[in-house]
């Protein structure tokens, strides 16, 4: 009511006109009802906040050394390497190759000190090879990288360097180091950015 009276110019509110205000008891009961409604809403909201699903049994995979990884990103047709290399005499001499131009032309990974056979095995071309002589499948190439980039490997295992997809509370799939870093030229390739946002329209 007050709101309305405020808008009414003085002339209609001459002092002799007695304002008829609602009965105080009525006012009080309205107030009480409002308070009750608000309180009821609050307790219902509180209850809503407690209304959560029971915690699910954690579905984390068993702790094993092997990680579920995406398939190695081979160029089509290159693997198994033994398709060619079974027919070729293995040659451990460091030299300019007349083959594998796609590798040799870009090779830039501590080039001075490294050559193909620091990572690939001389006799079993379908395997990688650790410095210890242990053979590795290409699904485990992260162990090879980890020999020299131990800190990165540690972060990778826990999902902090690199990327995992799947379930945040369950089975995860790892991208291998080589999905993001070409082992022969590991610097991350720059990307073309997606378009910037449109200029803000002036809204009236």
């Amino acid at each position: 009511m007050n709101l309305i009276y405020n808008h009414i110019p003085d002339r209609c509110c001459s002092p002799q006109r007695k304002q008829k205000s609602p009965h105080p008891l009525l006012l009080r009961s309205i107030f009480l009802i409002i308070v009750l409604v608000i309180a009821a809403c609050h307790t219902r909201e509180k209850r809503y906040n407690q209304h959560v699903l029971p915690a699910e049994a954690p579905t984390s995979p068993e702790q094993t050394e092997e990680f579920a990884v995406e398939a190695p990103p081979f160029t089509e047709g290159i693997f198994p390497c033994s398709d060619c290399h079974n027919e070729l005499e293995p040659n451990p001499t460091r030299r300019e190759l007349d083959w594998h131009e796609e590798v040799t032309s870009i090779f830039d990974h501590d080039k001075e000190n490294r050559w193909c056979l620091d990572c690939h095995d001389l006799n079993n071309r379908d395997s990688l090879r650790l410095a210890s002589g242990k053979l590795l499948s290409f699904e485990e190439s992260y162990k090879l990288c980890g020999q020299c980039h131990g800190e990165k490997l540690r972060d990778w295992r826990v999902g902090v360097h690199g990327k995992r997809t799947g379930q945040w509370n369950g089975q995860k799939h790892y991208l291998l180091c080589v999905h993001c870093h070409n082992p022969h030229a590991p610097k991350f390739e720059p990307l073309t950015p997606e378009p910037p946002p449109l200029p803000q329209k002036i809204s009236k």
């Binding site: 309305i4 808008h7 009414i8 110019p9 209609c12 809403c41 219902r44 909201e45 809503y48 906040n49 407690q50 209304h51 959560v52 699903l53 029971p54 915690a55 699910e56 954690p58 579905t59 984390s60 972060d155 826990v158 999902g159 902090v160 360097h161 690199g162 990327k163 995992r164 997809t165 799947g166 379930q167 945040w168 509370n169 369950g170 991208l175 993001c180 991350f188 720059p190 990307l191 073309t192 950015p193 997606e194 378009p195 910037p196 946002p197 449109l198 200029p199 329209k201 809204s203």
Partner: protein, 296 residues
């Protein structure tokens, strides 16, 4: 305001109100139902089911598609947290558009829940001097770093406290949500948010039919209407099903990390315990659950 704002205009208003009441009653019952819907948090399970069913029907009529509208509640023992590796992000904006598609953001007018700020390494984090319109041939650009900003999912959110109708609140798993049916579009929350993370539908949002994501959550990516506020929900429709947010999955450099802050085995906890971590505008005491870190 004019002076003769008197009883006459008061009566005029009454007449107008009565008129609109009549107009309201002459339109279909659904509009009235919507109008009379209670606050989402006070609804019973049956009432929620009814609303979901009627929304699915409404979307089918409006978009000619079957939608799956979820209202899956939070799970006990989960508090979602997010971390973004500033030493990895290259500013490619893949996240911006993955988010737009996953969450049915309006294409025209354009709404982006994620903003990627380009900053100069020399100056450090400096919002005043940041650029969101960078568009070179390739990123990253020499001498720059990139800082994507979206809803910071504060533990102490200012946006929810200022809402006069309680249309926005923090869920038990920490996600700050908006009930679009309840939002009155006053935009107080936008003014209160220090991160510019809330966005308003000034016009009827538009999403091409063949790009609609029909897998939606009531409190998340369901189609919005003109006049309501929206923002990032950590992809509530995905994360409550155990999946990663769309931006985490798309990031080509693996800079985006997500998980349960209450789980000591999660990557998010590893980051908080082992990396250099910061939050934006810490001095405001909003206590974000969105962290930035240096993986290096």
């Amino acid at each position: 305001m004019k002076k003769d704002n008197s009883r006459r205009s008061f009566l005029k208003n009454i007449a107008l109100a009565a008129g609109s009441a009549i107009a309201l009653s002459s339109c279909d019952m659904k509009a009235i139902d919507n109008f009379l819907q209670k606050n989402f948090r006070t609804l019973s399970k049956d009432e929620v089911d009814d609303i979901i069913a009627s929304l699915q029907q409404e979307y089918k009529e409006k978009y000619g598609k079957e939608f799956t509208v979820s209202a899956k509640p939070a799970t006990d023992g989960i508090l979602f947290g997010y971390a973004l590796d500033l030493s990895r992000c290259i500013g490619c904006r893949r996240c911006v558009y993955a988010c737009v598609e996953e969450n049915n953001q309006s294409r025209d007018p354009q709404i982006h829940w994620i903003q990627v700020l380009q900053m100069e390494k020399e100056k450090g984090i400096d919002f005043a001097d940041s650029n969101i319109h960078y568009n070179p041939e390739k990123v990253p650009e020499e001498g720059h770093f990139y800082l994507p900003v979206q809803c910071q999912q504060c533990r102490n959110p200012q946006c929810t406290t200022v809402c006069p109708v309680k249309a926005t609140w923090q869920e038990p798993d920490g996600i700050v949500v908006v009930d679009y049916n309840w939002c009155i579009g006053c935009r107080y929350c936008m003014a209160a948010c220090p991160y510019g993370a809330r966005h308003f539908n000034w016009a009827e949002p538009s999403v091409p039919d063949d790009e609609l994501n029909t897998n939606v959550h009531y409190l998340g990516n369901r189609p919005r209407m003109k006049g309501v506020v929206e923002k990032c929900t950590f992809c509530i429709q995905r994360v409550r099903e155990g999946r990663y947010p769309a931006c985490v999955e798309v990031c080509p450099v693996g800079a985006r990390k997500f998980g349960n802050l209450l789980d000591p085995e999660s990557e998010i906890r590893y980051i908080l315990e082992n990396k250099r971590v910061l939050v934006l505008k810490q001095e405001l005491n909003t206590q974000p659950k969105f962290y930035y870190f240096f993986g290096v």
